[in-house]
């Protein structure tokens, strides 16, 4: 079963994403900050991580960059959740190594279809 890591400091959004992903048949690990996300990513080795950009402590971009820098987690698929639509944030996400990004407020339906598209692309 494909494991997906979801990191967001807002519990409601975390639950929303987790609910939708589990419904789509994925196993979800939910964490509420960057540090936990990093630890879970290293210990559980999920296939994909959904990271909120603005989190207290380590931001999503920091986590993304660290995952990419670590040999063990460098190949992980990463989707960023960003509240800002400004180009520089998006660029920051991509330069940190994210595979895709979704701006808040997002549609859970759209998020799931993006995740599935990424997964199918890597499997193929």
């Amino acid at each position: 079963m494909t494991v997906v890591l979801v990191a967001d400091d807002d519990a409601d959004i975390r639950d929303l994403v987790a609910f939708k992903l589990e419904q789509a048949g994925l196993e979800v690990i939910s964490v509420e900050d960057g540090q936990a996300a990093l630890e879970q990513a290293r210990s559980r080795q999920p296939t994909l991580a959904v990271l909120d950009v603005s989190m207290p402590g380590l931001s999503g971009i920091d986590v993304c960059r660290m995952l990419r820098a670590d040999q063990a987690t460098a190949g992980m698929l990463i989707i960023m959740l960003t509240a800002r639509v400004q180009e520089q944030d998006v660029e920051g996400g991509f330069s940190a190594g994210a595979d895709d990004y979704v701006t808040k407020p997002f549609s859970p339906r759209e998020l799931v279809s993006r995740i599935q598209a990424l997964l199918s692309r890597t499997r193929a």
Binding site: L16, F19, K20, A83, P105, S107, P108, R109
Partner: protein, 663 residues
């Protein structure tokens, strides 16, 4: 003829020659006249009387001969009487002839008279003879040869006299010819001399004079180095050339002096610009002190600020060490004796009693030295900011021009300080406004972020419910969830628009101006709006005329196009048309978005660009919107120095026209 000779002397010479020729001519003429007169006198006073006397003698002797012969042949005593009369007349005549004669004729006359005497002796014998006798007849024939001899002698003398008269006339005639020739020759010579003198004088005056005139003309058109040649031509022209050259030198000196003043004036003007360009008071003061020392020429320049000028240095000196050294006393002296607009020059003290340096001030000047001191008030606006003092250790005195220029610099310094202080206040204000602006932007950004997170949850959960992820919902519940979803979307749009407006209004919206093809942007916008138009059954009609390049922020323009097209599609009922036209006119790129929609009621068209304004018909028809779209459009168009206009007829459609400059 030496080229240096004066024209006056030349003319004097020429006239001398002329006068000489005229005198010669007169002398010749007079001589000729005298000669002529002599000849005439010779003829009338001597030759002609002699001729007459000779003829008379002959006539008298002829009468005597004829009387005697007649008496002898006829015995008529009357005839003898006529002989006697003739004999008496002869004595007179012969005496007259002898009296007239000169030495050279006397021989000839004596010969004649001798012949006559011979005849007379013979005649006296005859007279005694008896008339009509043979003796008488013989006497007659004997007397004839004697008379003939006299007659011959008489004729010969007459001929000699005639010859002499002819000779005299011939001589007179020759003299007349010669005189005429001489006079003609002299006249010709005089004429030639006059013409030559005229030509030479003209040439010798005209040519060098033309040279001088040419130099004057050349100088007039700007060849200031031209000088007249004072080494050629006659003395007078040389003097003129010399005078012209001296005038030119004088003019050049004046010009050079004026140019120096003009240059100084220009430097002072430039200094004024530099002083006023400084945004800091210290920099303006420093510029003024340095500039005055170099431009006007001063060994010490001291600026004392009037008391109460907070934020300004109390004293500024060209060289700081002087303010504590040689200028110490002056720096500490109170300069309040000088008021706005006052000037004091030690080498030309003002006669008016209004300005009077204080004793301390005078002592301070003396402490610096004997050099001239110039003190000018520095005024900013109405107030006296301070006193500017220029000192030269040793002369020269301050000239009126230098004083005037220093006043100009002082005025510029006053303005510069005034402006710099205003600018510093302004800067302070701007910095505070900037802080406020940044705070506002940060606040807007934070608020928007903080609002978005709960919105994400609301929208996400509503979507889950509507997607029946949490179980089926019945139709009334679905309608209610739709209302929540629609209002969530509206709230989201409102937040986005507010954030955008806040950013573009404060200028922190990153404006990346670059060449943009508005037609390409329009095509993208049409593609983006396509689904919405299809859904509303609105036909899109592009009328795009070629690439239209302009320098602009593409993202902002894209937003303008999207906002206008979204509005047009939103307010156009099914079956309507939205036209997007892009073309160039009068050097501007025009963008026209025309729809066949519901239009805007005329009284509301004015308020169209006001924030949160929504037309009443849009509200009645429950067409969603934030009321910020056109405000954003208006702000962006203003940012690009463009213009926007709206024409609308309620129920028929709206046309929005935007004109953007290409730069």
């Amino acid at each position: 003829m030496r080229p240096s000779r004066s024209v006056g002397r030349l003319l004097t010479g020429a006239f001398g020659v002329l006068v000489l020729l005229i005198v010669c001519s007169g002398v010749a003429e007079t001589t000729a006249l005298v000669m002529q007169h002599r000849v005439v006198r010779e003829l009338s006073a001597y030759v002609q009387p002699l001729e007459l006397a000779n003829a008379e003698l002959r006539s008298v002797l002829g009468d005597a001969q004829r009387g005697l012969r007649g008496y002898l042949l006829t015995g008529d005593s009357q005839l003898l009487d006529s002989y006697q009369v003739a004999r008496t007349a002869y004595t007179t005549s012969s005496r007259a002839l002898t009296g007239l004669a000169r030495a050279d004729e006397r021989a000839s006359i004596n010969d004649q008279l001798d012949r006559a005497d011979i005849w007379w002796q013979h005649a006296e014998q005859q007279r005694l003879a008896v008339p009509r006798s043979d003796t008488a007849a013989a006497y007659v024939s004997q007397g004839r040869p004697l008379f003939e001899a006299f007659a011959a002698e008489n004729t010969q003398f007459d001929a000699a006299l005639a010859g002499r008269a002819a000779n005299l006339q011939k001589r007179s005639s020759r003299l007349s010819t010669v005189t005429t020739a001489v006079v003609v020759a002299l006249t010709l010579l005089a004429a030639v001399t006059a013409v030559l003198a005229a030509v030479v004088t003209t040439r010798r005056i005209t040519l060098p004079l033309a040279g001088v005139v040419a130099v004057i003309d050349r100088r007039r058109v700007g060849a200031l180095n031209s000088r007249a040649d004072a080494t050629v031509g006659p003395t007078e022209i040389r003097a003129v050339a010399q005078a012209v050259n001296e005038l030119a030198e004088e003019a050049d000196r004046t010009r050079v002096a004026e140019a120096a003043v003009a240059r100084q004036r220009g430097e002072v003007r430039a200094l004024g610009y530099r002083i006023r360009a400084h945004l800091k008071v210290e920099d303006a003061v420093r510029e003024a002190l340095d500039g005055l020392s170099t431009t006007i020429g001063a060994d010490h320049v001291l600026l004392r600020m009037a008391p109460g000028q907070t934020g300004l240095p109390p004293v500024a000196s060209l060289r700081d060490e002087h303010a504590h050294g040689v200028l110490k006393e002056l720096a500490e002296a109170d300069a309040t004796w000088l008021r706005t607009g006052d000037v004091w020059v030690t080498n030309d003290p003002a006669p008016t009693g209004e300005v009077e340096p204080s004793e301390a001030e005078r002592r301070a000047w003396a402490a610096v030295g004997d050099g001239p001191v110039l003190t000018v008030a520095v005024s900013g606006g109405e107030e006296c900011l301070g006193a500017l003092t220029l000192i030269r250790d040793t002369g020269p005195d301050w000239t009126p021009v230098e004083v005037r220029l220093t006043e100009v610099v002082a005025a510029d310094l006053g303005r510069g300080v005034h402006l710099a202080r205003l600018y510093e206040r302004e800067q302070h204000l701007v910095a505070r406004l900037q802080e406020l602006d940044n705070a506002k932007t940060d606040f807007m950004s934070t608020v928007s972020h903080e609002l978005r997170t709960p919105l994400t949850s609301i929208a996400g959960y509503v979507e889950l419910l509507l997607d029946a992820d949490a179980g089926e919902v019945d139709p009334p519940q679905r309608r209610m969830l739709d209302v929540i979803a629609r209002n969530t979307r509206r709230l989201r749009e409102l937040i986005e628009d507010m954030l955008t407006l806040s950013k573009i209004e404060t200028g922190s919206f990153k404006t990346a101006r670059r060449p943009v093809d508005l037609v390409a942007l329009a095509e993208q916008a049409l593609t983006a709006i396509g689904p919405a138009a299809d859904k509303g059954e609105v036909r899109l009609k592009p009328e795009l005329d070629g690439p239209q390049e302009l320098t602009a922020d593409p993202e902002q323009l894209e937003r303008v196009l999207m906002n206008l097209l979204t509005n047009a599609v939103k307010f156009t009922p099914a079956g309507g048309t939205v036209t997007l036209r892009v073309y160039r006119a009068d050097g501007e790129v025009n963008v026209v978005v025309a729809d066949t929609g519901i239009g805007i009621p005329p009284p509301e068209q004015e308020a169209l660009f006001t924030r949160f304004f929504r037309a009443t018909n849009a509200i009645h028809q429950a067409i969603p919107g934030t009321g910020l779209g056109l405000a954003i459009v208006r702000t962006i168009v203003d940012n690009h120095s463009g213009r926007i206009s709206v024409e609308s007829t309620e129920g028929a459609g709206t046309t929005v026209t935007i004109r953007l400059p290409t730069r």
